[in-house]
């Protein structure tokens, strides 16, 4: 058990080191920090002095260590386009992205799991066929197109929901939330549905195929033979085992939700990290790009680790294997 946890932790650290190396290479070699800081009329001596002061003449290994040390203290340098510390920019926008991602993850789970269970239990009903067809369309539509179609329907044609921004936000300490105001709640509906639709279809299809598989197993047949009511067999026995792989995928999908938020935030002009990152890519703003890369990698690695550990807790077979290993 401990060995398993340690091995996973070492792997996670390894991934982070590689990503840090890439982020450092971008930061140090792709954009020239000095050229970005000074104007055209700065003399060559002035530049050389600045270069020396910034430590850009030190050995690369020393610079890399300094980069990691700074990153560990959330110091990612100054943005080329905004002339502000990257850390401040990200801090302002972090809550918006996390809120949007969590709401859409919740939406996809709360709708995806029941729909998956329904389509597995009633395989021949017309409603199942309908849900499956819609889910195929949901998987095929690019995220930005879903967003535009939703805006066209609910904002332009019907005028029910706002199409951009976060609405009014309330500050709680450093965290700003839009979930406590009416306009904030109205504003999050369309982006959250857009972002969650693909994951919902994915989770629904996964739950369906897993459930069908589980319903075929002997222990379910035995439970039915014992005369247990359908409700207990379906939800007590079958669903419980179905949810183990679903949990893994859902955890991993949370990571891609944060990445896909880049697209959704652009469509809805949602003031989050994704929009910040996209502006950085458009303007070759390397400090923001490398900071975002490190931050997202950190979130991904932590999610992966937590999912692995949860697996050990939920699935007794892994516990036994890990103990014998």
């Amino acid at each position: 058990m401990l060995a398993f946890v340690l091995r996973r932790a070492v792997q996670a650290v390894l991934v982070m080191v590689v990503v840090a190396l890439i982020a450092f290479t971008l930061f140090r070699f792709v954009g020239d920090p000095v050229n970005q800081m000074v104007g055209i009329e700065t003399s060559a001596q002035e530049r050389a002095r600045l270069r020396q002061e910034l430590g850009l003449n030190d050995p690369v290994v020393v610079q890399f260590a300094r980069f990691i040390w700074a990153a560990a203290h959330f110091d990612f340098g100054v943005s080329y386009q905004f002339k502000q510390p990257v850390n401040d920019l990200i801090k302002q926008r972090f809550p918006a992205t996390i809120e949007l991602s969590l709401v859409s993850a919740l939406f996809s789970l709360l709708l995806g799991i029941p729909m998956g269970v329904y389509t597995a239990l009633h395989r021949d009903s017309w409603l199942s066929g309908f849900i499956l067809t819609v889910s195929l369309v949901g998987i095929s539509l690019p995220t930005f197109l879903t967003g535009i179609l939703l805006i066209f329907l609910f904002s332009v044609t019907l005028g029910w929901l706002p199409s951009f921004g976060r609405g009014d936000v309330v500050a709680i300490g450093f965290w700003t939330t839009g979930l406590l105001t009416k306009s904030g709640l109205r504003a999050i509906i369309l982006p959250a549905v857009t972002l969650g639709l693909f994951q919902m279809a994915l989770i629904m299809r996964l739950v369906r195929s897993e459930m069908i598989e589980v319903l075929r197993t002997d222990y379910i047949k035995f439970a039915r033979a014992r005369g247990l009511p359908n409700r207990i067999v379906n939800f007590g026995h079958a669903l419980k085992n179905t949810l183990v792989p679903v949990m893994t995928i859902a955890g991993l999908q949370l990571g891609s939700i944060i990445a896909f938020a880049i697209i959704t935030e652009t469509v809805f002009q949602w003031p989050g990290m994704g929009l910040l990152f996209l502006r950085a890519v458009q303007n070759a703003d390397i400090p923001i790009m490398s900071a975002y890369l490190l931050l997202v990698a950190g979130i991904f690695v932590i999610i992966n680790l937590v999912v692995d550990l949860l697996y050990v807790v939920v699935d007794p077979r892994i516990r036994i294997e890990a103990r014998s290993a």
Partner: protein
């Protein structure tokens, strides 16, 4: 069912009959939705390939554009013009013609980036699987790290890095190659993993040992003996990846880091149209959007069918 029986009565050349009796062709003809999807995909592909000959206007020819024709609704709506079937965009370009040319670009970028991803992935996969040891570890760890991130993020990062390195290029064709590179490099992992695991199995089989015994060089064994045996599953990945690559290209263009408005792909058209959605000019974004959705959905359906048809477990 009866259609197939009727078909067998008609006298066809023996070769064609044999082709039609093939398992794959049989399962294709049985799956109606796949046939429909293939037809839809074919119509779009034909429209894209034949665009210069069948498009009523040339959207790239600035001489033929007239700003007085801008933002016209489709023919059937009030104020529509018979010259412009699906209306015009903000620069007076015919939306129908631009869709034809746009699909051409979308498909070209999609195909080229899938080809790049497949070539890179297959090469690295063969290398990793056949040589093992340090090379294998290096390639597969790199694949693991990349797999931690969604493709869209990798593609955006590569795109941003290339921009920072070379600056804004004035050459419009450069944008196409940047896109192909970004998308291709973000998709190679799946090919490498599949090919590597299969090469691992194949390399210990007797025919490979025999080939090595008579002194055939390793690269020849890889390309001529092992590759043909591992290529099957790769074809399935190619179709599924093609849909993903088309989506990714459209997404990048929509986000403004893909093809420019003067040379619009479907994604760029939707980006342009998005600005006019609120003023009521819905046709600029919606028609390219529907085309894109139809294309991706039909490629996905064909890919699904191919995966099931080639899966020996389901036979």
């Amino acid at each position: 069912m009866s259609a197939q029986h009727d078909a067998s009565h008609i006298k066809w050349s023996p070769r064609l009959t044999k082709f039609l009796d093939n398992d794959l062709v049989y399962s294709f003809r049985k799956s109606k939705i796949t046939v429909v999807a293939t037809l839809v995909a074919l119509v779009i592909v034909l429209g894209a390939v034949l665009a210069p000959w069948i498009a009523p206007h040339n959207p790239f020819d600035l001489k033929t554009l007239n700003l007085l024709d801008s933002n016209m609704p489709p023919v059937w709506a009030k104020g529509g013009d018979a010259r412009f079937l699906l209306g015009t965009d903000d620069q007076g370009r015919d939306v129908f013609s631009t869709i034809l040319y746009g699909s051409r670009l979308s498909l070209a970028v999609g195909l080229m980036s899938v080809a790049l991803a497949a070539a890179l992935g297959i090469t690295l996969g063969l290398l990793a699987g056949y040589s093992g040891g340090v090379i294998d570890t290096l390639i597969m760890r790199a694949a693991d790290v990349q797999l931690t991130f969604p493709a869209i993020l990798i593609a955006l990062l590569i795109d941003g890095t290339v921009r920072a390195l070379f600056g804004e290029s004035h050459d419009e064709n450069a944008a196409i190659w940047v896109l192909v590179l970004s998308i291709g490099l973000s998709f190679w992992v799946q090919y490498a993993r599949t090919v590597r695991s299969m090469t691992f199995v194949e390399k210990n089989k007797d025919y490979v040992l025999a080939a090595r015994l008579i002194g055939i060089r390793p690269w020849f064994i890889l390309v001529r003996h092992i590759l043909p045996n591992v290529i099957g599953p790769v074809l399935v990945i190619v179709t599924i990846n093609l849909a993903l690559a088309i989506i990714l290209e459209a997404t990048l263009s929509f986000l403004g880091v893909g093809l420019s408005p003067t040379q619009p792909s479907l994604g760029t058209m939707i980006r342009i149209g998005n600005n006019f959605l609120f003023s009521g000019e819905w046709w600029i974004a919606i028609f390219p959007g529907v085309t894109l959705a139809a294309l991706v959905l039909s490629v996905n359906l064909v890919g699904d069918w191919l995966r099931d048809a080639l899966n020996p477990k389901l036979r």
